[in-house]
Symmetry: C2
Subunit: 422 residues, 2 copies
């Protein structure tokens, strides 16, 4: 693997994308179901290659949590295959007519959905991403260049082999799915400059990766997957509902981007609400990083870890069982806090007051803004997109969960009958 | 004007954008109609300032064509005011619900259209852009930072003064429309790095400006307004229709991006078609840059300028009464030529064969692809968008003509009733 080879990958992807764009949905679906079959029939090979990654990771001292995310076994391979198959059933975005109008001069003008072209994806440890993203790119008619993490190198390589054989079998060029066959980080930098070949770069990983892509990529890229998410418990909130929603947002899956980072509580609700949520957090082992006022309301408790928040807590995506807690004097103060510290990802208000809800929905400028629901719902599956490649906090192109349509562009189709412009 | 001041402009725009986003459509419309009124009542002042630009331009030796584009008189000011007023009548994109779904769990999920935030526009000589863009940005709830060309400096300054007074009168912060008060080019570079404040950069000008913005802008930017546009005359074309369409695409307004640059002619149609189009071009004074085959068909004629094409002609946006002419052996050869030399802007086929038309529509990857119509139709007004800020050749976000909707993003609005994620 060298730079010349990387550019060859780019060039081949561009050419594969061109043929993909004119293939029927049936062929693309066949390729995806072939992938599912291929995964099932290559299980033992995949498990073997995966065990090499696991062994290497163990020697390298990776945590059990990371090793678990890396692990592929028969059951997990079946789940990955089933997820790929579910993409077959989604409606085909390619060729969809978005709008069609006949102009007063008789010109027929429509917009037809077309693939973006070549998607680049740089991702970290989980090898299932290799299959998920390939299936979604094929379904949306895009070629993809994958660059997975070094920990999953052998797993990703064997998965890519399975995928490439499967799509070739459906009559699609192998080059529609390519993997960067090196974990040398210099190829990430080079990939990020290949705007000649890559139409969209999607980083799937931690804040450092996302920031690096935002800074270095010469092609459009998705900023997302990183969120300092707030839930505001309004004066008028149903406190039991607030406990459920905040608890769910924090505890149900603390390691993901739409989990709660900071809870803001109206000063009138705080005395009754804070002890309740502390009881719930106590059971789950959540650490509360409290401002002075919430600290004094909670007092000293043995069952839950309460520590004073420092300024940088408000700007921290915890990704763990830690929650910032702050008492605010008003909805306005909550909005100000979110404006100063939010990352535009997911924000929720718990309230029974429709005017508070409306103001929150209007003024919070995040990819998803919620009333009386857990921020954990900011997800392509939960929003009915059927699949998700990323959650974008960009405002251009796609915002929030990105499904198949968000991997497409459109072209204007104009049908005339000798029309000329006056 | 210094760098500190430029950053102040950026900061003020961000804050103005925030208030704009929650103003009603009525207020934004009122601001735009105030602008129209302000232009009418400030005519003499505008003409006076404009005459300073004209005088300076004349001394600088600007061509009459450029001076004419620069000129403002009572009549032109009325046209600009009328164009602004027509924006009032367009439907308000802000707050529009794009999609609304109730999920199986009862969660109500919708997407609400919101402004992008702050738009930066860098443009060249025509001062009407100052008003056009301001009206479109206000209508779509965006703040704007304008940086016009040095030739129009006094005109743009007085127009911005009129606009700012007009919007203030409607209760909108003056900072919603700001102009960079210096023609020093270093501020262009600085503006292109202000991604902290500017959400989208739109260049309106020649190829050099567009390329510079594409290369230097740290925020998303629109690539567009530059096109090497093709019309292919198929074997089965109605030749009279082909003459009309090609003539219109080349001659009706040769200085714009969707005008014809290269005409491709099927080898069977060429012997009859080429003399016909040459007759038409002769009358309009179009120079034909011909490949060997078309040259030998046309022979030597006194009425029309026929010169041999050189390789770089195929990659040139002529912006003048010059047309590349090439004979091709097949539709496939035409598609290959467009693939190699096109810029993804506007391409047309003239044909009576529906399968040729379908193939051309499928395989040409341009912002607008046309059958039996002039490429000059690739325009927001002609496509029913009501207005146009640019013609994008990007695939991300907006492609082709960009109207009001293309100046917006959306946010996901989620209404629950205590919903938590299982």
């Amino acid at each position: 693997m060298d730079s010349v080879e990387l550019r060859k990958i780019g060039k081949a992807a561009t050419s594969a994308a061109r043929s993909l764009a004119s293939l029927s949905g049936d062929v693309r679906n066949k390729a995806i179901s072939n992938i599912a079959d291929g995964l099932s029939s290559s299980r033992s090979e995949i498990v073997l290659e995966n065990s090499r990654d696991i062994e290497k990771g163990r020697k390298k001292g990776l945590s059990e949590a990371v090793l678990d995310r890396l692990l592929l076994n028969d059951e997990r391979i079946d789940v990955i295959a089933r997820d790929a198959l579910s993409v077959v059933g989604l409606s085909d975005p390619v060729g969809e007519i978005i709008e069609m109008n006949t102009m007063p001069n008789g010109l027929e003008v429509s917009r037809r959905r077309v693939p973006l072209g070549v998607i680049g994806v740089i991702y970290e440890s989980r090898p299932n991403v290799t299959v998920d993203i390939s299936a979604l790119c094929l379904k949306s008619g895009n070629a993809v260049i994958l660059r997975g993490g070094s920990e999953a190198f052998h797993s990703n390589t064997v998965l890519a082999d399975v995928i490439r054989a499967a799509i070739l079998d459906a009559g699609i060029s192998k080059d529609a799915v390519q993997i960067v066959g090196s974990t040398d980080r210099k190829f990430v930098s080079e990939m990020l400059k290949m705007d000649e070949f890559i139409d969209l770069m999607i980083p799937r990983g931690g804040a450092d990766l996302v920031a690096r892509v935002a800074k270095e990529a010469s092609m459009p890229s998705i900023i997302g997957g990183v969120g300092v998410c707030h839930t505001y418990v309004d004066e008028s909130a149903s406190l039991d509902m607030a406990v459920d929603i905040v608890f769910n947002a924090k505890v149900q899956r603390p390691s993901v981007c739409n989990a709660l980072d900071t809870m803001l509580v109206h000063v009138s609700a705080a005395p009754e609400y804070l002890p309740k949520i502390a009881n719930a957090f106590a059971e789950a082992g959540v650490e509360m990083r409290c401002d002075t006022r919430s600290m004094s309301i909670l007092g000293s408790r043995e069952d839950v870890k309460i520590t004073p928040a420092v300024e940088e807590d408000w700007d921290t995506e915890h990704l763990s069982l830690t929650a910032g807690v702050k008492v605010v004097d008003s909805l306005e103060a909550a909005l100000d806090h979110i404006l100063d510290h939010g990352t535009g990802h997911s924000e929720a208000i718990v309230t029974e007051d429709t005017s508070s809800a409306a103001r929150f929905l209007n003024e919070v400028d995040s990819s998803a803004v919620m009333v009386n629901a857990s921020t954990r719902f900011n997800d392509g599956g939960q929003f009915g997109l059927g699949a998700e490649v990323a959650i974008s906090t960009n405002k251009m192109h796609a915002r929030g969960p990105m499904g198949l349509k968000e991997l497409t562009s459109y072209k204007w189709i104009v049908l005339g009958d000798g029309h000329i412009r006056e």
